[in-house]
Symmetry: C2
Subunit: 149 residues, 2 copies
Amino acid sequence: MKRTDRKSDCAINFALETFGDPWSLLIVRDIVYFGKNTYGEFLGSAERIGTSVLAHRLAVLEKKGILSKSLSKIDQRKEEYHLTAKGLDLIPLLLDLTEWGAAHDPRTGASRKWITAIRTDRNTVIKRTQDIVRKGGSVLGDFDRIVNK
Amino acid sequence: MKRTDRKSDCAINFALETFGDPWSLLIVRDIVYFGKNTYGEFLGSAERIGTSVLAHRLAVLEKKGILSKSLSKIDQRKEEYHLTAKGLDLIPLLLDLTEWGAAHDPRTGASRKWITAIRTDRNTVIKRTQDIVRKGGSVLGDFDRIVNK
DNA sequence: CACATTCACTTACATTATGAAAGTAAGTAT
DNA sequence: ATACTTACTTTCATAATGTAAGTGAATGTG
């Protein structure tokens, strides 16, 4: 059986069948946290996703309505990937992953300030992050606009 | 490279390397939502995990400190799997997966009442669910104690 | 304009993970 | 004593990932 075949109507199973592979959420993270938007930028990330896997994941995420793809106006070789509304709805989940990882990884790279912010002002951080990312920004690129405003 | 080799110090990557496969969170869901605790019960779930995959995932989740394993006092053939503190910390994430799945799956099986509860009283639902599961209960088995109290 | 480079992929192939089925050993029910 | 249940292991086919080497179109450079 393929991993994408629908196995039940459980909401959690639906979510995992959409992005529950080892790479999809790292691509979403690249967009949300690092402001990456192109194939080459995703390829360059620390986790070193393989080129064939990346192409496949991008195609699937676009087909499932998490990402939208459009040609760059500046450089016609480049495709730009952005989060759809469905994709922006993954931001709360990303924050939970961040919180869990930071709490349980003794050598986490997450900043104290960010962890505190998502713990104490979760709803505000979610809304601001979604607004920023919708406009093409990112957590690291617009940190002050999300945390210190 | 094995999928379990550490690829970066990103908190999200750490989390995904711990439980970011297609099955781990379904096992956690079985415990949290359905109160399942044994190999046979996990095997019986709707998504039909394969027996060899289940054995492997349980071993890895135990090794990574998400699950603890102990012999049943009543029936010595049975091993019982329970969430550790680290595993109970996954409950917020499970709720987000539920919310996302219910919001974007047109034929979701999630109940309206539950979705409303986790949307409006997230922190309370998290705490109560953790308390209940810590004591061996589950969302479906103790619904009223979590939602209507 | 010619040419090298960049970019988003595709293709090919080895390795790892999953899917499905059939065992096995120990504990329990009769 | 015997049959059954339970938690696995083993085996083998298929699917997904890891790695490297292309390919064709757009862009930068002289």
